[in-house]
Structure formats: structure tokens, C-alpha cells
Symmetry: C2
Subunit: 329 residues, 2 copies
């Protein structure tokens, strides 16, 4: 790849002028034209590494997520990407596997590569943004908040939990269980709280805790916990799954035992990815994942451009898509 010096030589100007042509500063039309010609002839593209070193920040945004195989996060990634692309940034996807150590490593990489900013769905409430913030890099968290003073874009988790549970109650179910993720993950906890709000309001159980199960946010978790629930002396007649993968896992078990969608009502928070079920079979509280990415990216880019207003937390509205189930009673 040609360097700025070779272009300068061919165009008969100084490297500084070449740089100015590519950065919008005023250059006489004649020179500008000659530089552009020379650049084209040499197939010149500015070396981003050198530019980054000098400028102290690149045109790359780090997007750090816990699980690249979860369609919820990839949908969000698409939102981030579209906005970033539009603004001239590229996006680097980093997968943490929900491990704090991996997450920390990616933060270090983002810093030492002088990336322009970071969007992160924190692996846990103990995620450490200290260094990134100290270095003055803009950060936006998505899906979950932290104790740090940064912008955040999150879902309305507790209302989502309530909406899902309410819908099942309206459909006539009276023993509604809940499967959620690890208790130290905000979304898991809040959605479960929403469920609890409704079941206690209706005094559904003597001991609600028995019908609330914490697990991992994965298909395996859904399978295991659904199996447990069905083994209870009084199994539930309906279920709220706190995320998409738990929903898939639970439905796999129910389908396997031919209990769904008729016998056991299911509501999923976040939608069923690539489902082949008819939309009427399951109640879905749709979470606007793409929009979350779009919003986060817009905020981040504003910050990169110098916006210094106080950090905000934006809560996105969810949307109820009720199934057409009806309890057997």
C-alpha cells in the first residue's frame, strides 16, 4: 500500500498537503486535484494505524456482549452497526461468554487500540469500567446498568415481567411459574420481580419462591428448570420465561411431552428466535433489541463527538403480543 509520502512525491507537494486533502482542510483546487489523481494512481488508502497513533483515537467502536450466539444480542448488534456505519465508524464485536476476565481483557484491548468508544452489555453487576472511564473513553451500557456514571439503554424489565404474567392470568391460568437467569444479572432479577408483583397481587401461591427458578440464560437452563417444575407435586399450569433462550428450552420440554401450547401456557420475554410455532401459541413480550442498539450507538457517537451532558438512562418500551391460549381450568 502506498504511503502519503509517495503520493506527495508524485503530486509534487508536501505530505502535509496530501493529508489536508484527505481531511477536509482547505487546499488550492489545483493541488487538490493533483493529489487525488496521484492517490488514485497509487491506489492509496491512509494507514489507519498511523492516523490512530497520532490522533489518539480510531474510528472503531467496541461492542462487548456476553453471548454472540444469542439472537437478542446479534439483533442489537445490527442496530449498532447500521448507525455506526452511517457515521463512518466500524464495529468490532467482542464476545465475553459472560466471563468477567474476558470482558476485562476486551476493555484493555479497546484501550490499547485507542478505540473511539465502547458499548457493553455488562457480564455481571461486577463488571469494571474503571479503566475505560479513567482513560476518558465514552461508554454506553446496554441491556443492563452499572454503578458507574455512564449512559445506559435498557429495557423496561419489571413491566415486561408484569405484562407477561398478566397476560397469562387474563387467559385464565392460575398457577404461573417463572424461569429467570442468574440472580446477579439485573434483567433476570427485575423480570422476576415483575412476575412476583402479579402473583402476589393475586395471592396465587402460598410460597411463590417455589415457583420462581433461577438458572443460566441459556437453552440448557430452560430445559433443566422446566423439567424440575413439571416434577413438582403441583406443577404449574403456565410459565413466564425471562428471556428467549429459556423460552426455547422450556418449550422443548413441553413439546416433547406434548403439553404445549394447549395444556401449559407460555409467555416469553424477548421473543422466540427462528420459531416454527404459530404466533398464537405463545405470548411474547417483544423487546426492541435492534432499537436498543440504535439508541446506544447514537448516544455513543454523540459522546465521541464531544457531547458532555450528564449521563442518562434510557428505558425502552416493550410490546405485548398475546397468544391465543386459554387455560383448561
Amino acid at each position: 500500500m502506498a504511503t502519503i509520502y509517495e503520493v506527495a512525491e508524485l503530486a509534487g507537494v508536501s505530505p502535509a498537503t496530501v493529508s489536508r486533502v484527505f481531511n477536509g482542510t482547505r487546499v488550492s483546487p489545483g493541488n487538490a486535484e493533483r493529489v487525488r489523481e496521484a492517490a488514485k494512481k497509487l491506489n492509496f488508502t491512509p494507514n489507519r494505524t498511523a492516523r490512530t497513533l497520532r490522533r489518539q483515537h480510531s474510528e472503531v467502536i467496541a461492542l462487548v456482549i456476553p453471548d454472540i450466539e444469542n439472537p437478542y444480542f446479534t439483533e442489537m448488534a445490527r442496530g449498532v452497526e447500521d448507525v455506526a456505519q452511517e457515521a463512518g465508524f466500524s464495529v468490532v464485536l467482542c464476545n465475553t461468554d459472560s466471563q468477567l476476565a474476558k470482558e476485562a481483557t476486551y476493555f484493555q484491548i479497546a484501550l490499547s487500540e485507542s478505540m473511539a468508544g465502547v458499548i457493553v452489555a455488562p457480564a455481571s453487576s461486577r463488571s469494571d469500567l474503571t479503566d475505560v472511564i479513567a482513560r476518558g473513553r465514552p461508554v454506553v451500557t446496554v441491556d443492563r446498568t452499572t454503578d458507574f456514571d455512564v449512559d445506559a439503554v435498557v429495557m423496561s424489565n419489571r413491566p415486561a415481567g408484569r405484562a407477561a404474567t398478566d397476560a397469562l392470568y387474563q387467559a385464565g391460568y392460575r398457577r404461573i411459574a417463572c424461569i429467570t437467569g442468574p440472580a446477579d444479572i439485573e434483567t433476570a432479577y427485575e423480570r422476576a420481580q415483575g412476575w412476583k408483583d402479579v402473583v402476589t397481587r393475586h395471592e396465587m401461591f402460598d410460597d411463590p419462591e417455589e415457583y420462581l427458578r433461577y438458572s443460566t440464560f441459556g437453552v440448557d437452563g430452560g430445559v433443566k428448570v422446566m423439567t424440575d417444575l413439571l416434577a413438582l407435586p403441583e406443577p404449574p399450569d403456565a410459565l413466564v420465561a425471562a428471556n428467549n433462550l429459556l423460552g426455547v428450552g422450556a418449550l422443548q420440554v413441553l413439546t416433547d411431552r406434548e403439553l404445549t401450547p394447549l395444556r401449559v401456557g407460555v409467555a416469553v420475554i424477548g421473543g422466540l428466535p427462528f420459531t416454527t410455532l404459530p404466533p398464537s401459541a405463545v405470548t411474547v413480550v417483544r423487546l426492541p433489541a435492534r432499537n436498543m442498539g440504535v439508541t446506544a450507538a447514537r448516544i455513543l457517537i454523540e459522546r465521541i463527538k464531544g457531547d458532555t451532558q450528564p449521563a442518562r438512562t434510557i428505558v425502552l418500551r416493550n410490546q405485548l403480543v398475546p397468544g391465543r391460549h386459554r387455560a383448561a381450568t
Copy 2:
């Protein structure tokens, strides 16, 4: 972030020595110790941008894929990531949306960021690797081959098409249609050829072409084409879907009309992501996506380290998981 100069100052040595400590060259134990101490005290991490500029290559691998929302590719990405991480590389995921222009842009970025190498699932047969190869960057293509002289890791596509079709034939189906992707995508074409091998061997149709449909490799495509097929005067009694998303789309239509899995047999090449169907409902030709990523990453890293043997194309074996369907006859 502290620089190498500050560390040098604090440790009472030259920057060169600090660099040597972090790069394995021999340094007297005393100095090494003092440098390490100073580095820790200043919370020093080497600036990768500067290192990359000097070394002319970074420790980042670009992984360029057509669709980040397709679980087939994210599964592969996990394979790449695990191997890369192990070897000290980080992975940058780039989404091309199957657009040659976006793909070309990402190649340019990879070059101008001096990335160590590129793994790409080419957007089409017209993908242009010229620049990347000219710059001497190692490239491995996955899923699809190209006319360029680079390593490739692909699935056994035509055999997969045959296996899927054969399984349906064995189950008693006699009018087996095929939905595949765009004709200029190798995997789409080859899998369809596999289907054609079998249906012509059994002289299944007067005009096989009528039961072979090209579409996009997405859920939408599957829905549309399946609908068309069912509207034929003589609709098929079974279907081969050439990839996971087409399979999902087709099954959505079939489920909606209550035609599956009993009335119309379905075989999917690549597996149904997050399915809630019982495994017996559908025949699956499992493609080892993760293994493809692992293999590609291993080869790429060997190349980065200097391996210069002639380019190879590695074909991965697939695995048939037959459903327990049986034609009505």
C-alpha cells in the same frame, strides 16, 4: 495509560530495555524486575497502535461474514474465536450483509489497520481478494471457495444435498422439492446439485427444475418459496431446505397450514436453530460449523506464523440425523 518512556524513567533504564522486557529478549534479571515493578505501579499496557505501526501487523484477525444473525455463522465464529484467543489473537467480527461493497470496505479496513489475517465467508463468487493477497496478508475462506489461490475450509455440500434427499426417499416420499439460495452462491448451487443427483436417479419428475427453487438464504425466502410450491398443481410431498433459515421459513408455512411434520416430510441441511420441534420431526444433515471455524483459524494462524505450503482446500464431513417421518402414500 502510561507509556514505555514513563516506565523507563521510573525503572531507571532506557525505553528499549522496557520494550525488551515485554518482548522476551534477554535482559538482566535485576533490570527486568525493576521494569516489571514500575510497569505494575503505573498500570502500564503497551500501546497496540504504536506496536502495530512499527511491526506492520497487529494481533487482530478479521472475520468477515455475510450475516451475523445467522446462527450458522455465529457458531462458526465461536470456533474461530476460541482458537484465536488461545493463540493470543483477538477476533473482529465484520458483517457484510452479503453485499460486495461492504465486504470490500472491510477488506480495506483490515489492510489499513494492518490486521494479521482474514477469515472470510465470501459474499459471492465475485468477492475480490486481490488487494488482501497482494499485501501479503494470509487469507482463509470458509464455507465457500473462490478462484483465488488461498486456503479454504468448506462443507461437503453436494453429498449433503444427496444425503438429505436420500433420507426422504428412504422414508417413502416420492415428490421431493428443493429450496436453495442464490444460484451464484456455491453452497446453494452444490446442495441443489446433490438433490438433483437423487431425483434424477429415481426419475422422480418429468421436469425437476419446477421443483427446484432458488431464493435468498433467509427465513423470508423460505416462506415465500414454500408458499409457491404448495400452490403447484401437484405439490411436493417432501422438501429439502438447503440451509437452516430456509428450513425455518418452510416449516413456518407448513406449521401454519398444519401440514407438518406428518403430511410433508422435511429435511434441512445445517440444522434448525433454537427449534422447539421434537428431533424426530425433521431430518437434519448436520454441518460442523464450529469445526469449520476452528479449522480455518488454525490454518490462518499457521500462515501468520510463516507457513508457506501450497494452499489447501479442506472438506468437512457432514452427519445425517434422520427424522422418524414416514410418507403417507
